[in-house]
Point group: C2
Chain length 370, copies 2
């Protein structure tokens, strides 16, 4: 039996969207799903049950952060990340690759892997396919991501081909490094840049490895929206229907709807949590900026159509006051609201897939949120 | 009928301690009680129901902070502080006097009141007895404190007498300024420094005003512990048994027990909340410093004898990790723990008063916490 199973429940006729159920060692996940980011072992400002209350059934942990602080060996000795952070549901970890690439001057890429310097204390580290799997298994994640190279959006085809082949070699090293496949599944990442023939080729290469799920890599950052959608749509065509598909680092409400329309089942993004901490709130009426003066005396909730605990009780005036006086409570109230918005949004998207109304919802969301 | 009533339920024979019930327009409070400090409209990092879960039945709001930000007129227009902060239980506000005196170079004291400059934006303000009452009534507090002058602990008797008489004149101006006595009660503050005759005289002066409650002022800061206890013990002797007595800005666990033994019913202090935010946690085994290296791999809770939600689930190792990585969640976990400790401590103290074992508990707490 697969470590992570995917049950296809419904296929849209108007789009490539589908409804499903993903079952991991820590429970079931209704897909399409949005995964809040729990960077260093907590979804910032939130308790586990609060994250759960927003509808989230799986969260993302960052391998790079956790291997540096507090260290994966420590997390393992304390029972793994689920126990450490008291999150009883599913966890997906990234490979650390994307984050280590983003260190820029602090890293060097070779065939072996990526050498880098810790931004915290200057200590030297090496992240390789084997190391990434070792860390993710130590964390006890349900879904490990393969360690891949993600070429820049402006790279020419020759480099993208070269990088794609390296990603395949690294994937094979990840597969060989696995020691607990019954506990930690492995998702591969389809690369190939904006080149449709390369996407098809790489999807085929990954499918031969018969993995538990597949991600579409290298499309979230830097590409124009239409290119992103085109590449995702093109790639999912070649992926097996009985495996979950994951679009990493996406995204805004319109992007989620477009991703689902293109056949994606899983998303993660820091947008709801990070925007909450910068006072930018998603509402049914558009973006609300907490600090704006017009909120000063406003007794209405952030969103009159929202059922979250923040909107149930607290006024815009109170939330703005907490913001202006740097009261730490504000981060809880805003994060709860934004995560609730994203949870409810995924519910609307799933309902629209079922009702055949996803195209209309997608237009609405893209128009409002870009 | 009084705005705030006090029912004396039990008097200790070995000490001056007593058990009671204080009833305010927003509910009953079991005394002796500890009031968490909700400085600027929130008990830092906590939701109202979390504060309530620690056993707190009344919280303190800071008049100076709230009049400057967001402004008492705004709070009033939004339904008052209870509604604004969604705290449905009792609220006591300080007069702003103590905080404005502590501005040092930024303030000037005259018979009229205290002129001061806002530390936030340099704007000029005047706090007077009338203004203090106006602000506290606008906030809709259940218990307003009289605007008093608090002389330094090192002042000579001549100045203390002069200051005490000014405090009485200011009290009479506070009384005259009241517009909603059925909603907002007024507590007077007994001054008189370390001079027993002055304390007796001033207590008598206040009792003539027949106020809803009495505070013992000017003893929390700077005095030696034994002097503090002596003055409090001496002062409560002259206070009526059917009114609550409040010791402002106290304190550590041993101080609470000593204050109760000296006949005090109410306390407030930033110690549990502020120490939580500096990673200093109260436990049944003594102080735990979150960041200490010995917590790095410790799977035990902060306090194995604690029933708080933090100790029920999270390890010292996890809390230390959150601390070391500046995760905002840590302030919630530590604040909840410390407030729970103080709530449970007051429960132990009340039980000891009932059982006649307060002297033994006081010795234990003073020995451990000073």
């Amino acid at each position: 039996m697969r470590t992570v199973r995917y049950e296809l429940l419904h296929e849209d006729t108007a789009t490539s969207a589908r409804l499903g159920r993903m079952i991991t060692p820590h429970g079931a996940v209704d897909t399409p799903t949005f995964m809040p980011v729990g960077t260093g072992g907590s979804v910032k400002a939130m308790l586990p049950e609060e994250v759960e209350s927003t509808g989230a059934q799986v969260i993302l942990g960052n391998t790079l952060h956790l291997m540096l602080r507090p260290g994966h060996a420590l997390v393992k000795s304390l029972g793994g990340l689920h126990e450490f952070a008291q999150w009883p549901h599913s966890i997906l970890t990234d490979s650390g690759g994307f984050q280590v690439f983003s260190l820029k001057e602090l890293r060097k890429i070779t065939e072996e892997g990526v050498a880098f310097v810790s931004p915290y204390n200057g200590s030297k580290h090496m992240l390789t396919p084997e190391r990434s799997i070792e860390v993710q298994e130590a964390l006890g994640t349900d879904i490990a991501m393969a360690f891949d190279e993600c070429p820049g959006a402006d790279e020419g085809k020759a480099y993208v081909v070269k990088s794609m082949h390296r990603t395949t070699r690294w994937l094979d090293r990840c597969i060989a490094a696995r020691t607990q496949p019954e506990k930690t599944s492995l998702f591969g990442i389809v690369q190939g840049g904006l080149f449709e023939d390369l996407r098809e080729e790489h999807a085929g290469t990954l499918i031969e490895r018969d993995l538990d799920g597949y991600a579409v890599g290298g499309v979230a950052i830097g590409e124009a929206k239409d290119d992103m959608v085109r590449v995702v749509q093109h790639t999912t065509r070649f992926l097996p229907k009985d495996r979950p598909r994951y679009l990493m680092g996406v995204g805004l409400p319109g992007d989620l709807a477009r991703g689902v329309s293109a056949g994606i089942d899983m998303f993660d993004c820091v947008v709801p949590t990070r925007n909450a901490r910068t006072g930018r709130l998603f509402t049914s009426e558009g973006l609300v900026i907490v600090k704006h003066a017009k909120n000063t005396e406003d007794s209405r909730p952030i969103d009159e159509n929202c059922g979250c605990p923040t909107c149930a009780r607290f006024s815009r005036a109170y939330i703005r006051h907490l913001w202006m006086t740097n009261e730490v409570l504000v981060h809880r109230l805003t994060t709860m609201h934004n995560l609730w918005f994203f949870g409810a949004l995924m519910g609307r998207i799933r309902a629209a897939v079922k009702d055949g109304t996803l195209p209309a919802l997608t237009r609405e969301l893209v128009e409002r949120w870009g």
